[in-house]
């Protein structure tokens, strides 16, 4: 069965063309939808919040993509979009696309808006586990503006003492335990070593020797009695030595107890100083009134900005060497190897983009350049410039952001300037609002290595108009409101330094001096009254325990008398326990005494 078949099948070309046409047709019909779904799914995955696209159109001829109505939901507030972009149009570098690289030479972003209300709440991207929950804003806000002045309704000393542990009472408790131990020790010593029974035993031994001394008949008996007397005297002397040691030890214990008691006397003052620092107020110290006013809200805003920076920062990778990296494939565990091509280029790059942003209810124009995921390879930093001028809100505004990841360490910079900015009513705590004013703002912030912050903001406010807020109506509120109403202009300088997790704000303002002077009189009076009450309460709480401690120290002194009495008793016994007193005269004993050898 041999056949001479033709090698080429011309109809095959037709079939191929039909198949290729079907594929192309499918792509033309459905590619836009597929890309739109890809943007929504991929964006949601990367940003961890819902991303919506109203429409997406590709133009193969122009190699361009046109996206309308891009919305990125706020993951922490689902009824709000953190970012909305009305229209995005960009050209894709098709040549690079073959290398799986996304390069955009020119991009237009129009009608960018922030923090807009959503029509329908966004779906949470995923359930957040409790340990992953971002810190609530209230946690990062150490104090509300003017909260310290509202604190002029001081907490009552009684409540303070209920919630606080007094060092005095703790020390008294400890001292009493020590003194009780000492007391027990001395009671035991005296009972065991210096009891009346013991004294009686010595007296009995003396009496026994005395009666024995009356009946001495020979020299041997005398010698035996003399030896007993000597032993008795030794025992009494030993006891006297013990008493002497006891006296010395007791004096040491008394001195120590007296020192402890003396120290205890100072503790109520120490407690008072500590509680005063905590619950009373000092206008001279701290960061000043304005510092306390603005540091809370400022910290909240800085922390919020920092969280956003941290979200953006990882997408600007600073690693430059395209090492072989693993990429899981659906069919199996294949690996995609990246090769160090002779002229490496980043996988993602937007060379140039023009923006139109709606901020402060005004239109801002801007541009950014060189947005890349591998800036070291690209060799140029990302630079964003925004500006606007002569509108209803401000005379001039400029913002420059540089994110430089081309060097060994990331160096980011933010510079802003705003002239004659008309701000809306701002709440200053619960006491007042800054109704209107014109502010000139300049600021510069440098972030080194993605964590070290250093910068400053200067705000000069003119034509300021403060107004009191309804609600509280007390002396201090009225005074603050009155003072603020009289303020027409002021400046505020904020210095920022440290790391992102532990930064410090240095706030300086001339408003400080004005406010401090005004509230000082009332403030001082209230503080004095509070402090007197606090001192009295501490005294009442600690008086009795301290007095009891003194009694215990005095009790120790009583042991002096006991030891002295015992010493006297044993000295008497020692005087009685002599050969002369206890033994009758040995016959011839007197002659022997008078006998003297001739040499």
């Amino acid at each position: 069965m041999k056949s001479s078949a033709k090698i080429i099948r011309i109809q095959g070309l037709l079939v191929f063309a039909v198949v290729a046409g079907l594929i192309a047709g499918f792509l033309v019909l459905f590619m836009d939808g597929m890309i739109k779904d890809g943007v929504e799914d991929g964006g949601s995955r990367i940003l961890k919040s819902q991303v919506d696209v109203a429409s997406l159109a590709t133009s193969i001829g122009d190699q361009a993509i046109d996206i309308s109505g891009l919305e990125i939901a706020n993951a922490d507030k689902l009824d709000e979009n953190i970012l909305e972009i009305g229209r995005i149009r960009f050209d894709i570098d098709a040549g690079r696309a073959f290398s799986k690289k996304v390069w955009v030479d020119d991009m237009r972003l129009e009608d960018i808006r922030f923090n807009q209300k959503r029509k329908t709440p966004a779906q949470p991207y995923r359930k957040v586990r409790p340990e992953e929950q971002p810190p609530k804003e209230t946690e990062t806000q150490p104090s509300k503006p003017f909260e310290f002045l509202e604190g002029l309704q001081f907490k009552s000393p009684r409540d303070i003492l209920q919630s606080e542990t007094l060092e005095t009472l703790e020390a008294v408790k400890q001292s009493r335990e020590d003194l009780e131990t000492l007391k027990t020790k001395w009671e035991t010593n005296i009972r065991e070593q210096l009891s009346q029974d013991s004294l009686k035993q010595f007296k009995a031994r003396i009496e026994s020797l005395r009666s024995k001394g009356k009946n001495l008949k020979d020299l041997a008996a005398i010698q035996s009695a003399a030896a007993e007397i000597k032993a008795l005297r030794n025992d009494i002397q030993t006891r006297l030595n013990t008493i002497k040691n006891f006296k010395s030890d007791l004096e040491k214990d008394i001195r120590r107890a007296q020192n402890t008691a003396a120290n205890l006397k100072n503790l109520p003052q120490k407690d008072f100083d500590r509680l005063k620092r905590k619950y009373s107020l000092d206008l001279k110290g701290g960061s000043g009134l304005v510092g306390q006013m603005v540091s809370g809200p400022l910290k909240t805003k800085i922390d919020k900005a920092w969280r956003m920076y941290r979200k953006i920062s990882p997408h600007l990778k600073s690693d430059s060497t395209p090492e072989p990296e693993e990429e899981e494939r659906e069919r199996s565990q294949g690996r995609t190897i990246k090769f160090n091509v002779e002229r490496p280029s980043p996988d993602f790059l937007i060379r140039h983009a023009k923006l139109s942003i709606r901020a402060f209810d005004q239109d801002l124009e801007g541009r950014f350049e060189d947005l890349s995921d591998q800036p070291k390879i690209h060799g140029k930093p990302f630079v964003l410039n925004l500006s606007g001028k002569d509108n209803a809100k401000f005379k001039q505004f400029s913002l420059k952001v540089v994110m430089d990841r081309t060097g060994p360490q990331a160096q980011d910079l933010l510079e802003t300037r705003m002239d004659a900015f008309k701000f809306d009513a701002m709440e200053i705590g619960r006491l007042a609002t800054l109704d209107k004013g014109l502010a000139n703002i300049t600021g510069r912030l440098k972030i080194g290595d993605e964590k070290n912050l250093k910068g400053h903001v200067t705000i000069q406010v003119q034509d300021a108009s403060f107004a009191g807020r309804n609600g509280k109506d007390d002396e201090i509120t009225r005074l603050i409101q009155k003072v603020l109403r009289s303020v027409n202009h002021f400046y505020l300088k904020v210095g920022l330094s440290g790391t992102a997790d532990h930064y410090s704000l240095k706030i300086d303002s001339d408003l400080d001096a004005i406010l401090t002077k005004a509230v000082r009189n009332i403030f001082d009076e209230k503080v004095k009254s509070f402090e007197a009450d606090l001192k009295k309460s501490i005294g009442a709480s600690t008086g009795l325990p301290l007095s009891e401690t003194q009694d215990l120290v005095a009790g120790l002194k009583d042991y002096r008398k006991i030891l002295k009495g015992s010493e006297s008793d044993y000295n008497n016994l020692l005087r009685q326990a002599t050969e002369k007193a206890l033994l009758k005269k040995v016959p011839g004993g007197g002659l022997l005494d008078k006998f003297k050898l001739p040499f």
């Binding site: 041999k2 090698i7 198949v19 494939r329």
Partner: protein, 164 residues
Amino acid sequence: MLSQIIKILKALNSNEAPWQISLGIIFGSILGLTPLLSLHNLAVLFIALLIHLNISIMLVSMALFSIAAFALDPLFHQAGLALLTAPGLQSFWVQFFSCPVFLLGNLNNTIVMGSLTVSLVAAAPLFVLCNRLVVKYRDVYNTFIGKVPLLKFLKVLDTYEKVS
């Protein structure tokens, strides 16, 4: 499964030359062993449609080799990894992948590279083997037909129908 066996038998007993059947098996093996949605398979499909090979056999071969591919994937990965990371070939690969089309074709993936290389290397011996098997099969088959008069008659009838 039955229809596929019938397709194979029909192809084997048809008038097509053994190389057409063998090529169908070879092209099917490339399509089946390598990940289907790869750029090189578009080229394979184009050539397969252009050359007068047996499409049915190619589709059956593709299905069978696809099943085999899942078991052989670790082998392909090892082969691809060895090739792509061979120190002596690094400069070649750098030059090779400077052409974006090869990157687009995922040839820098170990499985794609391994399976394509294995299927291409195996193509020549497989072609010779298949050719011989087809010829051998047909010899046996014809001998069997010649021995049974009824089958011989039916075959003549069938040939007549096709010619007329």
